[in-house]
Amino acid sequence: MNVSQDTLVAAASAAALLVISVGLLQNLVYLAQLVLAALALARTPPVERTRTLWQRYSDVTPPVAVIAPAYNEEKTIVENVRSLLALHYPNFEVILVNDGSTDGTLATLIRTFELAPVERSYDRAVQHQDLRGLYGSARHPRLLVVDKLNGGKADALNAGINLARSPLFCSIDADSILEADALLRAVRPFIEDPERMVAVGGTIRIANGCRISAGRVTAVGIPRNWLALFQVVEYIRAFLMARLAWSRIGTLTLISGAFGMFRRQYAVAVGGYSRGTVGEDLELVVKLHRHMRDQGLDYRIEFVPEPVCWTEVPETWRMLARQRTRWHRGALETFFKHRDMLFAPAYGRIGFIGFGHMLVIDVIGPIVEVLGYVLIPLLWAAQLISLGHLLAFVAVTFVFGIFISVCSLILEELELKRFPRTSHLLMLTLAAVLENFGYRQINNLWRLRALWQYLRGNSEWGAMARVGFSRD
């Protein structure tokens, strides 16, 4: 072997080690999350029955405004609003924000709920597009429909925040289904730590494959579509493992836009949701962390696994690609917008763990992993790296992936047991193995596409065609 060959081997080995190290670092982060999530679940009080919660808290629950932005949801809006109005909570208001829909969303609402124009004094605390009108109904006093010029989801949520008069608001997607007791469960941390609690996120679960009747999930099932099934495993990993773990150590940076409860005064203090972004949910939480730490305030932002919101996920590659690209672009936008928080001592754990996690998992991770898929087999085939390098790469990408996914299922089964049938568990275990061969890699490609779009300054949302819940 001559000198240039030695140099080539050394360079190849160094490149392979870099890829393996980043993969290993990612897995160590997941492993830490797994341990923290297991500890959190072990110390979480038993899931109490709704009746117990009602008996204990109904006298003292603070009022909540449920803000649901809607855009072109004519087909599903009536059932979704009915489902929201049927929530079990002593004192709540539903603020449905029609964000300049171009279909018959507003007309359908007016006709079905017998809405009439109303006026309401409100605080213009955060920015949004002009309102076109407010509508209320004598038959549904809890419902306020806001009609406004189109401005995007963040803009619509801001309008809802301004019109809300309660100390807490809950942001949800109009096409999601909240479990009847979700507000009661989500509000619990605000009741138990009213001084410090700023925001609470709940679990999002996948409704594809479940039986839906009258706007409620009446029987939990699993999707028949493999793409949706992979997402079930992914959501369990994201919520039951990642968010619970970061919540436990006070570094939760994401509360899903599909279901989160916030203290209005602090959301207003940070200017509400940032308009013109695609990751407005992540950015709001990061802004809250920044604000509270800048002000030197003692605060908590928590994830609680029990309040559940059901959502429909894409069942086609095209729709999923759009969604994931958008999500990742949102993460990158937030990361780079608040990059001064990365490793900044002033932001403590948020700067080191929260932003460090985003750097490793969202920014560097996908690039290095995709590089690895191309580079490592080629280098091994060219005999520039050893079999050990190849096996180590397979270990950190595929095999550890199986371990992490199956462990998150183990947590789910040990603590929550949400899937009623043994056959569900078998299918999910299979999905947890198979998702590492193909699905994971394609996800990384979407992340790279998101990076490319971000660098080119693309901030489009892209359309999300809903197939609609299969209902009884």
Binding site: E48, T52, Y57, G388, T429
Partner: protein, 346 residues
């Protein structure tokens, strides 16, 4: 090292799959047990209904329930919550004959959180000296949910200890929130008005305790307290003053006028908000000009509550709102216009 990574990952993945396989088997067993539990529940419910209708004898009912006491513990609160009057009393008596309260008292003292919690909740249906003693002892339980539930059950049976003792015993280990304590204070307010009132006036007590006590005494609707709460509102600051005004608004007695009038000019916006609301709820028409002045306050909540109060004051208040709508500027005009429209008064 690289080969170790491979071996370790394979071992971990295999171990996780083995554990999952064991859990799937455990789930099979569990599903079978749950099916049996559902069958027993159905049997017990059927027995209750049959016994209430006179189709099943008391001896047979007792025999069935004694055979399935663990299921009965889970089911008893549900059944007792559904029934009222004579049927409720008969069922309580029968459960006592079955020995359910004694079983619940034993479970209450266990360190198993779920069982103790269920027992603390269910014992509220079985008042008596032994239950009171057990629930009082449970105020020292290691889990705060159990302590709190025991306190709520004691309050329901009018057996709660004095408010100061209760506060210190519940808070001694932390974890009990102000909002939950507020619910408890409200429940004991009818029996312990004097103790709560003493706490309201105690300037050495933690402000949060005074706030909760002020809220609770207002729920009794006792006008004899108006004068005292007015004094508290005049002398206190911050959250205590704001709560005193809120309580005066809840009581709705015009004797609160001096405190409301002074608070409308408070430098603290939270106090001005509560004063404006109280003026409206009490119907202090002579405060209309002062409320009208607050329509131009810097804080939206003060402007809004002042406008709402003016709308509640009848023609005198509405006149001020219409005047602000016609002649006012900026925020003052906007809040007057929108509140008049909102209340259908424009």
């Amino acid at each position: 090292m690289l080969y170790h990574l491979w071996t370790a990952s394979m071992a971990l993945a295999a171990a996780s799959l083995l554990i999952m396989a064991a859990l799937i088997v455990a789930r099979l067993v569990r599903n079978l047990r749950e099916r049996r539990l559902r069958e027993r529940r159905a049997l017990l419910i059927g027995t209750v209904l049959g016994w209430l209708d006179g189709q099943i004898s008391e001896q047979d009912a007792i025999k069935t329930w004694r055979a399935h006491q663990e299921v009965l513990v889970l089911l008893s609160a549900e059944l007792l919550s559904l029934l009222r009057g004579d049927e409720h009393a008969r069922l309580v008596a029968l459960f006592e004959t079955c020995g359910l309260p004694a079983l619940l008292r034993r479970k209450l003292m266990q360190h198993q959180r779920a069982a103790a919690l269920l027992a603390a909740e269910n014992l509220r249906f079985f008042p008596g000296p032994e239950t009171s003693a057990a629930l009082t002892a449970a105020l020292e339980h290691p889990y705060h949910e159990v302590r709190l539930t025991a306190a709520l059950s004691l309050a329901e049976q009018n057996q709660a200890p004095d408010v100061r003792e209760l506060t210190s015993r519940l808070e001694v280990r932390g974890n009990v929130s102000a909002r939950v304590m507020t619910a408890l204070f409200r429940r004991i307010a009818p029996q312990q008005t004097d103790s709560l009132w003493a706490l309201c006036q105690d300037e050495a007590a933690p402000p949060l305790h005074r706030v909760m006590a002020l809220d609770a005494v207002a729920t009794t609707g006792n006008y004899a307290l108006v004068e005292g709460i007015t004094r508290v509102a005049l002398n206190a600051t911050g959250e205590v003053a704001a709560q005193a005004l809120r309580s005066l608004g809840m009581l709705g007695h015009p004797a609160a006028r001096p405190a409301v009038e002074a608070a409308l000019a408070s430098p603290e916006f939270a106090v001005r908000v509560q004063a404006a609301s109280a003026a409206g709820r009490i119907g202090l028409v002579d405060m209309a000009d002062k409320l009208a002045a607050l329509l131009a306050d810097d804080i939206w909540w003060v402007r809004y509550r002042a406008a709402e109060a003016l709308a509640e004051l009848g023609e005198e208040g509405r006149l001020r709102l219409r005047r602000a709508m016609a002649d006012g500027q900026g925020a003052e005009r906007r809040v007057a216009t929108l509140v008049l429209a909102e209340k259908g008064l424009r």
